[in-house]
């Protein structure tokens, strides 16, 4: 017991405390000038903004994937079910180079897209693609068990009360999935904000345009500007904790509004 706490402190608490201690060495003015510099603000905007869009896309597409996997039979269903976990298991650097090769102007998907005039690799759209990739399992794996366990009887009750299919889905099934959907959304969002490996290859990394916040931290570290790196890290940490906290509250609200489940 004491051993556990000691180990956790050594491995997790002390390093994190170091982060905040380092930040407290900065004066408020210094901290503010780092955080409000154009390059930092843009990097944070890119990380948080694109992560939000990616999480929204994952929410919708993840829901469709879960629906198809749980409710329908189609050839290859089990295989597709299994590969949902690939973004979890595939090292991020591997995902990064693979996605870049795929979406590069001479890649399998990049070439036809380039003919349509759409550039994906080395633009913010490329970052978005990597963030979508990394977020897939979160929504699917949190919603899937809930949809599987959902009582068929409440659906049948809705039908016997005269609901059509759309009403049954939107008023009976989906509300039961809202807490799980929110959790999956929050997890995918948090992961995408901090994602580094799978993004940096495809991003192009142009300052102010396609430079994500984690990369800026790495750049500042390599310039030995530890204070800058730390300040950006603290802003990222605090903001994502607040966001997760907000979503957790929302989730609890959604649960209490539905005493039935």
């Amino acid at each position: 017991m004491g051993l556990t706490l000691t180990w956790l402190s050594v491995v997790i608490l002390i390093p994190l405390a170091g982060l905040f201690l380092k930040t407290s060495e900065l004066s408020l003015d210094q901290f503010w000038s780092i955080v409000s510099s154009r390059r930092t603000l843009n990097a944070l905007k890119i990380s948080f903004g694109l992560a939000l869009i990616a999480a929204c896309i994952n929410l919708v597409m993840g829901m469709l994937v879960v629906w198809a996997l749980v409710r329908y039979r189609f050839p290859g269903r089990r295989l597709f079910d299994a590969i949902v976990d690939v973004p979890f298991a595939l090292p991020t650097a591997v995902a990064g180079v693979a996605l870049t090769a795929l979406f590069a102007p001479n890649g399998w998907l990049g070439a036809p897209l380039a003919e349509l005039g759409v550039k994906v690799a080395f633009t913010p759209i490329g970052i978005l693609m990597a963030m979508i990739f990394i977020g897939i399992p979160f929504v699917v794996r949190t919603v899937q068990p809930v949809l599987i366990d959902l009582d068929v009887e409440i659906e049948e009750a809705a039908i016997s009360l005269g609901a059509d299919r759309w009403q049954t889905v939107s008023r009976v099934i989906l509300p039961g999935l809202v807490p799980a959907l929110l959790t999956g959304f929050a997890l995918a969002f948090a992961r995408a904000i901090g994602e580094y490996g799978s993004v940096i290859f495809i991003a192009g990394n142009l300052p102010n345009v396609s430079e994500i916040a984690p990369l800026l931290i790495v750049i500042r570290l390599s310039e030995f500007r530890y204070a800058d790196a730390t300040a950006i890290a603290v802003v990222m940490l605090v903001t994502s904790f607040l966001l997760i906290f907000a979503v957790n509250r929302l989730q609890r609200l959604a649960q209490t509004r539905m005493p039935a489940s």
Binding site: T4, L16, I83, P87, L90, A93, L109, E156, I159, G194
Partner: protein, 291 residues
């Protein structure tokens, strides 16, 4: 995996079935799901192997036999072995503490265990630079005593331990909670010592869960990129793990070599997934037997 569809009559009868969507909508949803997963999962995976073998098998083998590749393989295996070992022991302790005892600050402990999951890998690396770096808290002292933590094996291992800590504990907490403490209490009342109880009663009950946690922990330990990248220093032939080597070769336009290394890691991921599916089946069976 539980398959709900087997419990119900098959859909798709000719007459309109209110329990499912019209045929057309069903088809559209299936196609969208399949296309989405193909674009984002199947094609990138296929791309890794297509690129790795783009110049033939002999180039592929040569890329893997390169001394730098061999040293990266050795380092990756070493770091993973140490990190998984440490996290196995302490993950067991942490799960044991959380699942079998009630104490003040338990919620805090659980959040602490989960923390590395929600922190950017780059920040996970950064915290160790702040502690052990030249400008860090203990950096100067370590330098005076000629101890190398950063840009060396200890730093890489620490960052990996940090990132992979949650896996074993997370896999075991629900399992141990569900099993309760009755069996342990029975063993102790029959005169078993604490250690005997642990090794003869607790451990056999959770062995599949332990394997499951170790499997995921190992996959992440071997594949971790962001955190390790910050603390490794990228010294060629010395502190490059496999994922870092993928990046270096890629940035040097040695695409075949880069994807050859990447294909090793992709195979590790695929083997992990297959093993995970098998273990999940065992865990499901264990759960059903316990019910």
């Amino acid at each position: 995996m539980v398959d709900i569809n087997q419990k119900r009559p098959a859909f798709g009868s000719a007459q309109a079935d209110l329990r499912t969507e019209p045929r057309l909508i069903r088809a559209v949803i299936i196609v969208m799901a399949v296309v989405f997963l193909t674009i984002f999962v199947v094609l990138p995976l296929a791309m890794v192997f297509a690129q790795a073998f783009a110049k033939g098998v002999s180039t592929y083998v040569a890329a893997l036999a390169d001394p730098e590749a061999m040293s990266a393989i050795r380092l990756t295996l070493l770091v993973a072995a140490i990190s998984v070992g440490l996290n196995l022991v302490f993950g067991l302790f942490a799960a044991w503490a959380v699942a079998k005892f009630d104490f003040a600050g338990k919620t805090f402990l659980i959040s602490l265990i989960d923390l590395p999951f929600s922190v950017s890998p780059v920040i996970s690396g950064l915290v160790f630079v702040l502690l052990f770096g030249a400008q860090g808290y203990w950096g100067p002292w370590l330098q005076n005593h000629h101890v190398h933590v950063l840009f060396a094996l200890p730093g890489i291992t620490l960052a990996t331990v940090f990132v992979t800590f949650p896996f074993v504990a997370r896999a075991l907490i629900p399992l141990m909670q569900q099993q309760g403490s009755q069996e342990e209490e029975a063993a102790i009342s029959l005169g078993a010592s604490g250690l005997q109880t642990f090794f003869r009663v607790t451990l056999p009950n959770i062995k599949w869960g332990v394997l499951y946690g170790v499997l995921l922990c190992n996959a992440r330990a071997m594949g971790e990129f962001g955190a390790v990248s910050v603390v490794s220093g990228h010294i060629r032939g010395q502190t490059n793990t496999l994922p870092l080597l993928v990046e270096i070769l890629y940035n040097e336009y040695q695409f075949v070599a880069s994807f050859a290394i990447a294909s090793l890691l992709a195979m590790l991921a695929l083997i992990t997934l297959v093993a995970k599916t098998v273990l999940e089946r065992h865990l499901d069976e264990g759960q059903r037997a316990g019910d």
